[in-house]
Every structure is written in C-alpha cells, then in structure tokens.
Symmetry: C2
Subunit: 295 residues, 2 copies
C-alpha cells in the first residue's frame, strides 16, 4: 500500500517537473523527453523517468500533435494512494507529499471547479530562453531529487510506524530490496535506501542518513529557487512545496506549534507542556492569568 | 467535523503568520500581538485572531519570558482534523490546507525525527528591519487572508460534496450563519460566506464568488512574495504554500495530469481520454504504439 502511495508522489513530482520545464523553461514535450532521458542516466535512473521520456516523445498519429497535449488532463485513481494517506493519519505520520499527489489528482478531475476558476487572476509564465532555460532545467533536477528523498522519507516513516504499531518487525532495508527487484517505482535510488538501512537498521529517518543529508543539503539552494520561481510564475507545485516545507519543518529549532498549544489552552483548557520542567499546565486565561499544574 | 478541520487550518495559518513575523520581520511576541490586534480590526476580525494576540502578549510569571517561548512546541490533537481529511479523501475533495495543518501538528510531535534533523543544512532567516519589516507584515496579512479564503473554499467544498453524497440537502449559507453565531472559528468572514451563498445557493466554489475572487486577486502578488520569501529563508509555511498551489492548480488552463494519465496507460493500460473526442483510449506502448479504443 505504501509502495503505491510513494508511486503517487513520484508521479506527481515528475508531473510538476514536466510542467515547470514546459512553462518556465519553455521546452517542447520532445525537448523535455530528452531532458528526462539525460536524467535517467544519473541518480534519478528509474522506470518512471524512463517511461516519462517515452510518453513525452510520443506523437499522436491522428493529429500530429504531441501525445501529452491530446490527453485530457484529469487524472484518475484506484484508491491506494488515498488509503495510504488515511492510514498515515491514523498512525500520526506526516505524509504530505503523498497527500498532495492524491489531492492533485482529485483537483484535476473537478471540471466544474476548474471551469469556474478560469478567470481567477494570476501571472502567466514567461518562458526563459537559452542558457537560462538550461540552468533552470538543472535546478529542476535538484528539486525533483530532493523532493523524492522527502517522499521516500515519509513513506518509510509510515512503514516503520505501521510495523511498530502492529508488531510486524519489518526490515526497511528488505522492503527497498524487494521493490528494487521489480515494481513501478523500481529505481537505482532504492539501492541507496537499502544501503542506508543496512548500515543503520535503527535509522529514525532517511534524512538522518549521512549520504542523503549531504545530497539534500547540496540540492536545497536550487530546490528553494525552483519553488520560489514556480510561486512567482503561478505554476502549481504542491508536491515540491510540501516536501520543502516538511524539510524546513523538521530542521526547525522551534516550531510555531507552541502558539497552537497556547491557543488550545486558551479556548479549550487543553493544557500545554513547558520547555523548562515536566508536567502539564494550564493558564487561567479568563481569570488572573496565573498558571496551575494540571492533571 | 468540517468545522474542526477548518479550525485546524485557521490555526496553522495563524501559526505560520506568527512564525514569519518573528523570523523574517524580526518582531518580538509583544510586537506581533500588536500586529494581530490591528489585523483584528480589519477583515481578519475573528475570535482566533483575538486570542492569538492575548496569548502572544502574555508573559510567563515564572521566568519573565514571553509565554509562547516557554511552551513546548509540540502540538497535540484530538482527532477531528484527521477525521475531516480521511472523509475528504473518500469524497474525492482536495483539502490540502486542512491536511497540512494536521501533518504540521504530527510533525511537531515527532521529537526523534526533529532531533535527528537538527543538522540538516538550510538558511538561517535574516530579519528585516524598520520599513521593510512593516511592509512585509502587511504582505503577511494578505497571504493569511488569501490562504484563509482557500481553506474555507476547501472546507465548504467538502460539506457540499458530503451533502450530495449522503443526500443531506445542507444549505451552505446556513452553515456559515450557524458558525457565525458562536464557535471557535466565529468571524466576520463568515457573514461574507453567508452572503455569497445567499446570493448564489448553487455556487460551485467560494472562489467563484465575485467578491472573493476580487479579494484573492488583489492579494495574490503579496501572497506569492511571502511564500517565495519563506522558501528562500527556510521558514516552513506548508499551509500558505498548499493554499497557493491549490489556487494555481484550479486556475490552470492545462494541468500535468495529462502526463500522469499517459504514464498510467503506459505501465498499467489504465486508458486515457482525449481532448478532441469522447471515449476511452489505450496506446499499444509495447507494440507499434498505435491507439485503440477501449471499453
């Protein structure tokens, strides 16, 4: 099930990369097919990247147009992505990349909402040319790779949490090895994941593997530049943006969740914990605002 | 239930606004309390904005520090936000803003992952000063308001979809009126929503209401600037970014979902629809790549 959730995320990230290469770099589908073919010789080497190039290079016989331009842009789904997110919510595991992929598919299918939104104001992308487009394409590869690391981090977190919750004792390195052997998301990348778990079976998160940490660290400037550019130019990149927010959320020294806890205590006396001592506390917001120890 | 989902989203957006005012504008909690008090006299007038100012203005008696700084930054949840998202997934309604709010809370609670991620590389925010900070704060108000419109759009979409699926015949204007009368998310904003549905009970989406369309259109430049700045400076804004991606996704003339459908047809013969005629089609990807009509 989580395999399919990750597959949804992988496909959404690839779709966003394609959309950016088309709208911002100004490339044709055939040119983008070449970009994906090149990427497929590097660290993104995978079945999905390979078939993306095939689909983008294909010409529709009936019209002579690029195949991708005659396909209706409403993605369908069988339900395994949705199911992954629903279980992740039960397990308390943030799988924002998979969720955004599921939502992007359902959004694409709401023809009535999309039609009603055609007049909403926003920028029209201005394609770059020449060297700027090529440099942007390189940045998109970094953004795609970094976002992919986050998707797999989230998916493997879910498997670990599920394995702990149900006492399955799943070895995460073996999961990577099985998927590597043959499935939709088969990729050289899975060897890296297996190696990470083989060297540290107790790895709390893929992001804490030294090699992934270095790679995502090297990618993050370009990743930020790509998301900022997408936001400025009005190209939707829910997957890239969610992955980056997860990354920045995890590495944050302090999160504004402290304010959330303060609000919850104010309106519902849900109590909060303190940074400087143990226990649960409540402030008498409606009274003299002194603090009492709770429960 | 959806009320509570929207409440989660509202609280997350407020938390992100606070975080940005703190990290990027360089304001103290007391200064941010003043900003929220000012916002509360305008279109953001609401119970949650009001109590946010109260919480931020509060000083911890034991330490003399701002209260928000002594609260542990791990948000808890009772489960209604999660439940909203799970049902939305069943209904096929994209509620990315609510989902990101639920995930942000669960992320904040994963102490082990956060600790392991403290060394991940990224920029340290450089606070603006003086006039630049004040201008940024104004932009954050725009971003918060625009993101809030999207949250409510998603939540009301879910209520409409649920009402249709279960034959409840819920009047969306009445929902806004009931919530307005008294609940955590009570706000002047709900009068606007009621007015929108009163004038057009069949409104397919809040975003297609002329007034909301104009307001979000006027806000979108600042909204983009705020998300781009957050991304550059490494401040996590999953809610703002998800709302903007939803907005840009809905208004897109073509979505890369066409590529997703092409991939699905390639690896699973799931078929696709064409833009130029009815029916379901499949391309013989493993053969001569001719197209056949399916089913």
């Amino acid at each position: 099930m989580v395999h399919n959730g990750i597959e949804y995320a992988d496909m959404q990230l690839i779709a966003e990369a394609y959309d950016l290469l088309r709208a911002v770099a100004g490339y044709s589908p055939a040119q983008i097919a070449d970009v994906f073919r090149t990427w497929n010789t590097g660290r993104l080497d995978s079945y999905l990247i390979e078939i993306t190039a095939e689909v983008l290079a294909h010409t529709d016989a009936a019209t002579g147009k690029p195949f991708v331009d005659i396909v209706r842009d409403r993605a369908e789904q069988k339900g395994t992505g949705r199911w992954t997110v629903q279980i992740a919510l039960d397990l308390g595991v943030p799988v924002s990349g998979i969720a955004e992929a599921v939502f992007a598919r359902s959004l694409s299918g709401h023809a009535d909402l999309r039609e009603a939104a055609q007049d909403l104001p926003g920028p029209a992308p201005k394609p770059l040319d020449g060297a700027a487009a090529a440099a942007f394409a390189d940045r998109v590869e970094q953004a795609l790779y970094a976002s992919k690391i986050v998707s797999y981090t989230q998916g493997f977190h879910q498997i670990r949490a599920g394995s702990e919750a149900y006492g399955w004792g799943i070895g995460l390195g073996s999961v990577a090895a099985v998927w590597r052997a043959g499935c939709i998301i088969r990729a050289a990348f899975l060897d890296r994941i297996r190696a990470a778990y083989d060297s540290r079976p107790d790895l709390v998160s893929l992001l804490s593997d030294k090699e992934f940490e270095q790679e995502i660290g090297a990618a993050q400037d370009d990743w930020r530049a790509v998301v900022a550019e997408a936001v400025r130019q009005g190209v939707p990149t829910p997957g890239f943006a969610a992955a980056l927010a997860y990354y920045d959320g995890l590495r944050a020294d302090r999160l504004p969740a402290a304010l959330t806890q303060g609000q919850r205590d104010f309106f519902g006396a849900h109590t909060y914990r303190r940074t400087d001592r143990e226990g649960s506390f409540h402030t008498l917001w409606g009274g003299d605002r002194s603090e009492i120890e709770a429960g």
